[in-house]
Symmetry: C2
């Protein structure tokens, strides 16, 4: 199977909704954007042996490669439009491609996000997705808008994915699903436009990603450890192991956001409408840095704050 046959069989799904000109030319040409909107763009690269193990279920790999990018759109309050795919493969393995594209397109279709172009080549397995979304001008949820006095919120539960890595083969189905098939919080991001002040998606761990909000907003933050919505599986761990996994494990792909206290009711209503727990976990304060407080309000000490790909 040559490169072009491969594209035809696995990636070209016929007429495009998003493009005047889709897969099969030198570039895709998007339809003109809706008036008053602008484009959000994010890129993530996944490498075998680093972001997924050799022999990982290709359905899950296809899901995750797109999910981590959709999560970036969610964190901006942007609506997914389209994505491109750069794909390096050791060989043109039809069964792998069939499963990979099944996982990828199932998620893409749920978010009406269309594959509009890409490139395939032989090489060590690596996947690079660039996603495009739209958001009204001036409305995007940024990292640099948090203000002292804001509530700090987080969606869903934390630590499930990191627990799956921690437990390895002993991980339960729930944790494995959190690691392999994170659910990008796209609807939540869109609903939080005009309600949240600052937002980020948690990919490297809560404390590290909260640190980015603090740095860029020139504020500090306090997190109440007892308030944190931890994945149920963490309860089986020794108490001293839980904070590292829930706070710095990474791969959560939940949204962390700050909002003025007067927005509590509408935010709670959004959580109820989406069937997604939204939990107040602390507050933005004047100053700098992230402090995690224990049940008695005393700062806790953490071994590491976030995942770093080059540390």
């Amino acid at each position: 199977m040559g490169e072009f046959e491969l594209i035809r069989r696995f990636f070209d799904r016929g007429p495009s909704r998003r493009c005047e000109l889709g897969i099969g030319d030198d570039c895709a040409i998007l339809r003109p954007p809706a008036p008053g909107t602008t484009l959000a763009v994010a890129t993530d690269m996944l490498v075998e042996g680093r972001h997924f193990v050799a022999g990982a279920d290709p359905v899950a790999v296809g899901h995750k490669a797109l999910a981590v990018n959709l999560s970036d759109l969610a964190a901006m309050g942007a609506r997914p439009l389209a994505f491109t795919l750069g794909l390096a493969l050791p060989q043109a393995d039809e069964r792998w491609l069939e499963a990979f594209t099944t996982g990828m397109f199932a998620l893409a279709d749920r978010h009406e996000c269309e594959l509009i172009g890409g490139d395939t080549t032989r090489g060590p397995r690596a996947i690079c997705v660039t996603v495009l979304g739209e958001v009204p001008v001036g409305v995007a949820l940024r990292r640099d808008r948090a203000e002292p006095g804001d509530d700090l919120w987080v969606s869903g539960e934390l630590g499930g994915a990191a627990l799956a890595i921690h437990l390895g083969a002993r991980a339960g189905r729930c944790e494995r699903a959190r690691l392999d098939r994170p659910e990008p919080r796209v609807a939540l991001g869109i609903a939080l436009r005009h309600l949240a002040r600052a937002a980020i998606d948690i990919s490297d761990g809560l404390t590290g990603d909260l640190g980015h909000i603090c740095e860029r907003s020139r504020v500090g933050a306090e997190v109440d450890w007892p308030a944190l919505p931890c994945a149920p599986g963490l309860g089986a761990l020794p108490e001293e192991d839980r904070p590292g996994i829930a706070l710095a494990g990474g791969d959560d792909y939940e949204l962390l956001f700050s909002a003025a206290p007067e927005n509590r009711s509408p935010i709670e209503a959004i959580g109820a409408r989406l069937g997604l727990p939204l939990t107040r976990i602390g507050r933005i304060v004047a100053g700098q840095g992230v402090r995690v407080l224990d049940a008695r309000g005393r700062p806790m000490t953490l071994a590491r704050s976030a995942y770093d790909h080059f540390a």
Copy 2:
């Protein structure tokens, strides 16, 4: 050096012209597009050991990773705006990054194409660039617009890059430069709006890429071998080796386009203005398939038609 320090040192170049919000948030947010324009999007993935050798000059690798993408914009007549970069590296090698970004940004700056986001990770060296350009609605140069009777044109010279691969260490400076630092024909693509009918950039070899125009336009094509503007170095090869290298070697990154014969004068004027040879090499005909004709008008037989990453 951690991931964020690396981004700060090598990739974040301060305030953005193209974005409301540039590097440092979950997504880049582009400025709203000019009225009446739309976005062209292309992605290319380069893998060490396949698109460049281990130990290749990182300045050249940085140049080429962006150049092959700008060449896709050129083939659509689109003006470069911005790009994202997915980068996998075996380690955070400062000297490599310094040289790589020097090559990449030198080309980017010449085309006012701004790095707006990306992702770095540890892994076998691979580079995935996604480029965004703008083109007025309905004006993009497509592959499917060639008509019987059109002239076939090509820019520059063919076969220089393939000759460099063929000769290996014996390659001259000129051929090496063609292979390592292809010059995307961006100004030509923009100038050809409203003049060319179909266009493509030659990345896999002239006959293969011309085949794409023929297939999508449902036409055939004849190429006059003696008319072909071959790189001068090809003259030193045995005569029978020349067609394979000039016609199917690939990596040329010249533009191949069809245009109505009444546009010959304005097209020649563009070549003169840009200081770039534009050569008529044949014609679009009714039917299908690509035929290469020798000096006496007889069809030539070629061993292979194009480079295929999975063949």
